[in-house]
Structure formats: C-alpha cells, structure tokens
C-alpha cells in the first residue's frame, strides 16, 4: 500500500482539473459511436451467440412503379464475379449459391440489393460465420463489388430498391422513423442493442444502403415491404436519418443526443467537480491552520 500513502507531487487543484478532463474524455468514450473500421471482436455476442441463428429472409421487391437501382452487367463482369465468389464467398454460401444450413443463407434469388449492402458496408465477408456482421472498411473496391453483384444477380431475385432524400418529407420521416425504427436504432439514430445483437447507429449509412436495409432486413432487422413503408415513407426516413447527423441542438453542446448517461457524467464530473474545486479553494484545509 505504499503507493497509497506516498505524497503526490501534483497539486490537488491540478489533480481535480485532470479529473474533469478525464470525465469529459469518458463521455466521448462511452457515448460516441464506434468509429468506422472498428473490427468486430472475434465473438461480439458472448457465449450464447453460437446457438443463435438469425432468420433467413428473402428481400422485399420494390412495388411496381417505384424507382430501382440499376447496376452494370456484362459477361466479363459476371466472369470476374464468379472468380471472386468462388474465392471469397463459396466456402460458406456454397459453390452454387445454395447456402450451408445453420451457417450461411442461400444467395439464389436475393437480387443485387443485399449483395450491394453487405459488401459496400464491409459487413461481408465475415471471418467468423456466426458472429454479427458489423460495419467495416469494405474488402472489395467498387468494380469488384459490381462484378459480384452481376454474378449473384444472374441467379434471379428482385431489383434493388433506392431512395431519394430530396423527395422525402422531414416531418413525415421523423414520424415514420419513430414508428418503425427508433425502437432499435434510438430516436436520433445513435444505435443501441437488442437481445444478443448490437444495433448499428446510422451515422455512416448512405441513402442507398438505408433503402436496401429497409427492404432486406439485414441480420436481426425485420424487412419492410412497400405496404408497410412505401416509397415516400422510405425517402422521408432517409431524409430524417441524414438530418440526425446534425440535429437541432438548441440547448448547446448536444453530448451525442443519447440522453441521461452523458448528462449524468457531465453533472458529476463537470458540474459537481467544478463546485468541489470551488469549495476546496474557498474552504480552508486543516494544514493551513497551524
């Protein structure tokens, strides 16, 4: 216990100030979303995750008349896609896209949307088949992603949805987001958790990815068809999600817009800490009275 009784050379006021700075840093640490490129831990879901299989869903097709996203297609692209697929994807999804029961879903008739989503957000390929796919720097460049899209789309499936935030309505988007998304993604899209899975924040999701995710329902997310969320609602939700990156923080520093946890840290380690420093400065210490 000598380290406890040794006299420190740092003056107390400086130490308290250091505590304040550390507190501010901890707000940033605890409240900030995980940075892009953070690799998923080998098993982010803990012990029980290995018994857990997300349901296999087929993506919803855009309603007739809704805008869709086209991707380049050519025999050359498909040939390159075939090579990439057999090298990187086939060990789990099967050499003929048939999937492996209990490990990876079939990729027949998924269409271009999911392929674009999983590859451009770096969620695939996954090093541990049963861990949760999380956003990572993409492994493939754009041309290679197009090649894989061209190859896998050749096995059928709906066209990829798309969204245009300019056609959306912000107020309606907030309403729809509250109804359909906030229960998991948090009301200002800062992410959260569900049973055994992290729910990503949407700070880096672009409109195309959001549209694909809504129609497909990656991992545990439910998928929404055009009756549940029509194209106008989709455009509006995307517009709201883009707005959440700089929401109206009328009250000052927004401390990440997730509510009471950072607020409590500020109250204790900035508000009360500052007042304790004041008390220590104006109140006397015993060693001053000799």
């Amino acid at each position: 216990m000598r380290w406890l009784t040794r006299r420190s050379r740092v003056p107390p006021v400086l130490r308290l100030s250091l505590a304040v700075i550390l507190a501010a840093a901890s707000i940033v640490g605890l409240a900030a979303p995980p940075s892009q490129g953070q690799t998923s831990p080998t098993n982010p879901n803990g012990g029980a995750a290995h018994e857990f299989n997300p349901p296999t869903k087929s993506p919803e097709a855009p309603a007739p008349g809704d805008p869709t996203k086209s991707f380049p297609d050519s025999p050359g692209l498909r040939a390159l896609g075939y090579t990439l697929y057999q090298g990187t994807c086939a060990s789990c999804h099967g050499i003929a896209l048939q999937g492996t029961p209990g490990v990876a879903p079939s990729l027949r008739r998924v269409g271009p949307g999911p392929v674009d989503f999983y590859l451009s957000t770096g969620r695939m390929p996954l090093d541990q088949p049963k861990s949760q796919p999380l956003r990572n720097p993409p492994l493939f460049n754009r041309a290679k992603i197009y090649a894989l899209i061209a190859y896998i789309s050749a096995f059928g499936g709906p066209r990829a949805p798309t969204a245009d935030p300019a056609k959306g309505d912000l107020t309606y988007g907030f309403h729809q987001f509250t109804l359909n998304c906030a229960g998991c993604h948090q009301i200002v899209a800062r992410g959260g958790i569900t049973v055994n899975a992290q729910v990503p924040d949407l700070e880096q999701a672009n409109p195309q990815e959001i549209a694909e995710a809504v129609r497909m329902g990656p991992y545990l997310m439910p998928h929404f068809d055009a009756k549940q969320i029509n194209q106008h609602a989709l455009d509006s939700i995307v517009r709201y999600v883009l707005w959440t990156r700089s929401p109206i923080n009328a009250g000052g520093w927004g401390i990440y817009n997730i509510g009471p946890i950072p607020e409590g840290i500020v109250a204790w380690f900035i508000g009360l800490a500052a007042l304790v420093i004041v008390a220590r400065l104006i109140g006397e210490r015993m060693d001053e009275r000799t």
Binding site: T171, A182, I258, P260, G264, A267, I270, L275, V276
Partner: protein
C-alpha cells in the same frame, strides 16, 4: 481592527439596535452572527446542495408559469419543424413551447434540470462525507435521518420532474415505474391505480396530481426539512475535525459575520454560476428530439436520470425470481430490483448509527469528527457497501457498454451477478489495509508533496531532515525515536 472591520461593526450594531427596538430580536441575531463555523472545505458540500435547491426553486417558479398539466390530445403547430401536425399531449406541447418559443425558457429549463442532477449528486457526496467522518454519531443521528429523508424525497422529486414533460423518454420511465408499483405484493395494483387513476398511462387526473407533487408537496416538505436540518446544526453546533485547541464541546473556526457569511455567499454565486453555465452551454434532455410519448412507442437506449440509474441496474441484475404460491404470483420480479433494493439500502443507512452503537458499545456524545483512517472497520464496511451500490448503478449502463465495447449484455449481467459479491469484498480488504497503512505513515492521501527539508553539513553533504516543511524537526534536536507519527494529528 482595520477600517472595514470597524465599519462593519458599526453597521452591525446599528442594524441590531433597529431590530431590537421593533421586534426584539437582537439577542438572536447577535447569536446567529457570532455562530462559529469550523474550517474545512468538505463542510461546504452540504451548502452546494442547499444552494442548488435555491436555484431549483427559482428556476422552477419560472417553469410552472408555462407548464400545463394536461393529457388532452392536441395537434402541434409550433416552431419546431419536425413535429408539425403531430398529435401530442398538451403537457408535452407546453414544454415544447417553453423550450423553443418562450424567451429564455430553454435556459431556465436546462438550468433547472442540471441543478436537479447536481443537487442530488451533491447530497450523495455530502452523505459520503458525513458517513466516513462519523458525523452521524450521537447527538447528530437525528439530523442524519433528516438528511436521508431529504435524499429519498429529492430522488422522488427528480423523477416526478423528469416525468412531467411527457416525452418519449419520460413516458417509458413512467411505464417502468408503473410496473414496479404494480409489483408490490398485495397492495401494488391498488397503489398503482390510486396514483395513476387507472391502468397505465393513467387518466387525466394523473397529470395535475403529478404536477402538484412536483411543484408543491415535495418542495414544501424539502423546505421544511432543510430548515429543520439547519436549525439542528445551529442548535447542536457543527462537528469539527480534531486539532490543536479543538475539543469535544468547543468549536474552533470562523464566525458567521463578517467572515463566513461572505465565503458562503461566494459559494452561492459559484453554484448559480456553474449551473447557469451548464444550462446555457450543454444541452440536457432535448425533448423535441425525443418526440411525444404514446404507449405504443419506444426507443432504444432509454435511460433515467442518473439518480434512478441504480434502480434500472437492480432490475437488470436481478435473476428472474418470483414468489409463486398455489399458482398465484405473490411477488412479481420487478419488486426486487425496483422496490426492495432501494428500501434495503436506505434501511441499512437508517439503522447504521444504532448498529454501530450496538457493535462498539460506544453510546457517548461525539462532537469531534474522525478521519476515515481512524476507524478502519467503519471505513472499510462503508466503502464496500458504497461499491456494492455503485456496481448496481453501473449495471444500468450495460446496454451502452455492449454497444460501445462489444461485450455482450448477457455476459456483463452474468459477470456482475458474481462481481457484485466479489468486488465489495476486495474493496473491503483494500480499504482496511489502506487505512492501517495511512495510520502508520501519518501522511495525507490528497495533499500535494511540499518538498523536502534538507540541511547541508560543513563538508557539503546534504541530509534530509523531513519529508515535508510542515513537519520540520528543529535542527538543534535529534528526531524523536520510537514515536508513531500517525497518532498525532496534523494541524
């Protein structure tokens, strides 16, 4: 006596004479102005709470002018673009308008909310100081009970205020509170019905009731208890740390006038300053971003204000035990974490003075405080108990830790179900050992190193006389051998 002192004295005499001629209070005023405050910075922690309360009352009065306690549904057409045409309760709309349209409304609301968070935090810190210095011992145990009662009321008051806004976040909080109320054995359903006026979310009588509790009943109770608390301190006098000339039954320190009152006013201004800075610069509870509450809505990561966090942690940590007799659930699960746990913590704190008297057999009156190290067993038990509660509190943020660090929620819960018993034990033994080590060394853990005192001998060698200037051994005499430095108090 310098000029200012003489001037102050003249003013003082004139004021007391004027009062004497009219209401005959000169004796009391003289007594109050000569009240002696012992000097130690940690005695100011309670004053931080007192001045936060004053800020709370001041800002709260402003807020009541604009708040409408009504759950009738209205359509929003105010200045916030994202909620145009949205259906919401009149209560939520009034807080929205207060925040975004009333001049300085948001400032006052944010100052009020920050003040509430700091108020309860400073009470807790004050309680920690009281406990670890033994200030709750007879004859101050009665005042300690008043303090604990005020802490309970303050937590209830904070939760009521947080709930009044009727936004998405507070609505989810009320839903949890309703479930906890329902879980109280035998009387829960009746109690919940009584408070909410029917099943959740309650009928329209709930909101005026909640408002009256928040703006009148609890604040009035707090004001009465604060007055009692201060009157008891004045009557019994402050306790003080031991030191030269300080004995039981005397107080060495600074008189109220002219010295201590100015210092205390300075602290009042500092509290108001810090709270208004926070309220003006750091956003708290942006209800326009949360949106209105409807029972069919929820959001992820909803959390209560920090002082309710320990109850959320307890709800999460508690295994899914329920008491079922003959197919009927007598004690539903939320009761353990939401009601039994805080009840247990406060019961332990209320009974601690009596318990200590029973164990130590010390039933004498105590006016001198003890340093934490002087009572290693009390300090160690207190630290272990505190760490036990703090762990439960920290479990309240397991969701955010899962999200941020990737440690699964269930793993965390399982680890803490064991850790909640292991870690306090570790804290207990570390504290015990640290106290004994501090007793031996006599040093102060929070005081800066002030240099060594050295003496240079005739042949140029340097010899360390003391490791600190305030404990210089006079060079003429040799350092005493065989004394225990920790036993003599530093002054």
């Amino acid at each position: 006596m310098n000029l200012i002192d003489r001037y102050a004295q003249r003013r003082f005499l004139r004021a007391s004479r004027a009062a004497e001629q009219r209401v005959g209070l000169a004796g009391g005023i003289k007594w109050a102005l000569r009240y002696v405050f012992p000097d130690h910075w940690s005695f100011l922690l309670g004053e931080i709470a007192l001045y936060s309360f004053i800020v709370l009352v001041g800002t709260g009065i402003f807020l009541t002018l604009y708040y409408i306690p009504s759950d009738s549904l209205v359509i929003y057409h105010g200045s916030y673009p994202l909620l145009q045409g949205e259906q919401m309760s009149e209560a939520y709309r009034s807080v929205l308008n207060l925040s975004l349209s009333v001049p300085a409304g948001l400032l006052f609301r944010q100052v009020h909310h920050w003040a509430a968070n700091v108020f309860i935090a400073s009470i807790v810190l004050h309680l920690v100081r009281i406990f670890f210095t033994g200030a709750y011992r007879k004859p101050r145990d009665f005042n300690y009970f008043i303090g604990l009662t005020m802490l309970m009321l303050a937590i209830l008051e904070g939760f009521a205020g947080y709930s009044l806004a009727d936004d998405l976040l507070s609505g989810m909080g009320l839903a949890i509170a309703y479930s906890v109320a329902m879980s109280i054995p035998f009387v829960g359903a009746q109690l919940a019905s009584l408070v909410w006026g029917g099943p959740f979310p309650g009928n329209s009588t709930f909101w005026p009731r909640l408002e009256i509790v928040h703006v009148l009943l609890i604040p009035a109770a707090l004001a009465v208890l604060i007055t009692l608390h201060l009157a008891m301190i004045m009557r019994q006098h402050h306790s003080q740390f031991p030191g030269p000339g300080r004995r039981e039954r005397n107080v060495v320190g600074t008189p109220m006038w002219p010295a201590y009152a100015l210092r205390s006013i300075g602290l009042l201004l500092a509290v108001a300053g810090v709270l208004f800075l926070l309220g003006g610069l750091v956003q708290i509870n942006p209800i326009w971003q949360w949106g209105p509450f409807h029972p069919y809505l929820s959001e992820n990561g909803a959390q209560p204000d920090w002082y309710i966090g320990w109850l959320i942690g307890a709800l999460r940590l508690m295994p899914n035990w329920e008491l079922v007799i003959a197919g009927r659930t007598v004690i539903p699960n939320p009761f353990w974490g939401g009601a039994a746990f805080p009840l247990f913590v406060f019961t332990v704190m209320f009974f601690w003075p009596a318990l200590e008297r029973r164990v130590t057999g010390d039933i004498r009156r105590h006016d001198l405080l003890e340093r934490p190290r002087d009572r290693p067993m009390r300090t160690a038990v207190g630290a272990a108990f505190l760490s036990w509660v703090v762990i439960v509190f920290a479990v309240g943020s397991t969701d955010r830790i899962f999200y941020r660090l990737g440690v699964s929620y269930t793993t965390q819960i399982h680890v803490w179900r064991a850790g909640i018993w292991v870690l306090p034990l570790v804290v207990f033994f570390v504290t015990l050992s640290a106290c004994r080590s501090l007793q031996r060394s006599g040093s102060h853990p929070l005081r800066a190193w002030q240099g060594n005192v050295v003496r240079r001998s005739a042949d140029g060698r340097l010899e360390v006389l003391s490791d600190s200037p305030d404990r210089v051994v006079p060079p003429a005499t040799e350092p005493p051998v065989g004394t225990v430095p920790g036993r003599e108090f530093e002054s």
